[in-house]
Symmetry: none
Subunit: 313 residues, 2 copies
């Protein structure tokens, strides 16, 4: 059932115990949204746990509450609501099975499958964190510096630090209000940008694989399993080829298992969410992804063919 | 004489002919501010020329009005005011001599030498473009999409795309108001970031050479002459290693001739300008450089030894 921001706020107000979760491969928006909403709810006296069915990237350790994020290790969970942030039900892992509470879904992905019991979907928002800010306003809770920092990281992550086309006046006004709470933009950007030496070496190896397709309108990076299993994250790798002059669609394909590839796509013009959806994934027009159950070689040839066919310019 | 924003607006209102200029080596803020103020003044019926005593970087060609920017090729200039944006008098080149009009100086650099006839200095603003926006408000002029884009590039350039510590709530609210005029953040970031494929391949090769020193407190890239002669620029390469966790000083050494190496250094804590100065170069505390007349191998061993000795943390 689609509900409004106001009804979302009302439902949160009437609940006492809540479990917050987000998608696997959690990013800054997934975690920032969870931490921001947890702060709001705790200010209202609620009992709140954040449970994520995956590792949380270490760059987010600057966020207060990082160490309290749990994995779904218990057999079953009780709550008044299972709140799914920044994802549909099918991307949160085992928690949906383990927790039989009504699902309250808060998301900004237009591709949301709308299976949640209650869904507040604001596709015009650049980040779920931006919705969490709206919820704070609606519920009359002022963020402190730490929770504002979590929400800010969500905005910064999902807008490529305010560079992507989803960055709206509302995004910037939200950022302004969060800066007023004491958020330090340079601390956040340093944390987001800091990479382990292993990642930089991984990037060096990844960039060796760069290839252009379709007369330079598409570019790809192709990471073998023996590379991806040695590096913690490939976040940001795709940006290194997205900026190549003339490239519309940039693709990063990484073998996360010998026969399973995770695909990220970024585009300037072509709507990549259509292709991602057709392949069982999702995302936005200009940033989408999917998983393909083939080895790297087969995935590359299959996907690049599909991308070349789907190029709109 | 120090004047207020209001008086600055009043003086601009009473003038009829104005020449706008900014510092040599103009950046996005210098040019964005000039184009933004030119738009405001033209809306008020003024006759306005932008004259810059240097080449304007080509990435700014996306700005409407880029082609109308002149160089000071005439013997002398007449105007009611020479408006100097984003600089003191001593950084604008020959125009100060050629134009004897009263100088109206609009700047955000705390280091401004205050020699102008009339100076509006707002050191709390991240960019001069932010002041130009304030002037638009004061003068009751609404920016159109093109002029808003120019002002936005000023903000984005001087805040490192909203990452530096100078980014304030006012900066973000200004950005929000400009986005409402139709500014496309992705178009601006693409223009600023776009690189040729050859540069990206060059980066891939450069990153192969990454090495850590002094227990990871220094990192270096070492580019042989046969690599550097094939790529147009190495700008931004050093940022790829500056962000390595634990690194204080990042160094890029490139052989620009078989026996001549150009050195760039970036630091988080250590003052690298001292070492650069000792080696015949210069720069700022956190970004400095020099030239060493040895081959790459000798330069590397000599310089890394010197850097390790100079580390402050």
């Amino acid at each position: 059932m689609i509900i409004s921001l106001k009804e979302t706020a009302e439902r949160l107000k009437t609940a006492n115990e809540l479990i917050l979760t987000a998608h696997i491969s959690p990013d800054g928006d997934a975690i920032g949204s969870c931490l921001g909403l947890k702060y709001i709810l705790e200010q209202l006296g609620k009992k709140v746990r954040i449970i994520i069915d995956d590792d949380v990237p270490s760059f987010l350790k600057i966020l207060s509450g990082y160490n309290d994020i749990e994995k779904p290790q218990e057999e079953s969970y009780q709550a008044d609501y299972l709140v799914i942030l920044d994802a549909c039900l099918d991307r949160v892992g085992s928690l949906v099975e383990k927790c039989k509470a009504p699902v309250l879904n808060i998301d900004h992905h237009a591709t949301n499958d709308k299976r949640a019991d209650y869904l507040y979907l604001a596709a015009e928002r650049a980040a779920t964190a931006e919705i969490v800010f709206d919820l704070g306003q609606e519920l009359g809770v002022e963020f402190d510096k730490e929770s504002a920092t979590a929400v800010y990281i969500g905005l910064a992550t999902d807008t490529g630090y305010f560079k992507y086309s989803n960055t709206s006046p509302h995004t910037m006004r939200t950022a302004a209000a969060l800066l007023e709470k004491g958020v330090r933009p340079e601390t956040i950007s340093e944390a987001i940008e800091t990479k382990d030496f292993a990642i930089v070496r991984g990037l060096a190896k990844a960039l060796q694989t760069v290839e252009l397709f379709a007369d330079g309108r598409a570019a790809g990076l192709f990471l073998e399993y023996d590379l991806t299993e040695t590096i913690e994250t490939t976040e940001g790798f795709i940006d290194e080829i997205r900026i190549i002059d003339g490239v519309d669609v940039a693709v990063l394909i990484k073998a996360v298992q010998p026969e399973v590839c995770r695909v990220s796509m970024r585009s300037k013009v072509t709507d990549v969410s259509k292709l991602a959806a057709r392949l069982g994934g999702g995302g936005h027009k200009k940033a989408a992804g999917c998983t393909i159950y083939k080895n790297l070689y087969d995935t590359k040839h299959y996907l690049m063919d599909e991308i070349i066919k789907s190029l709109e310019v």
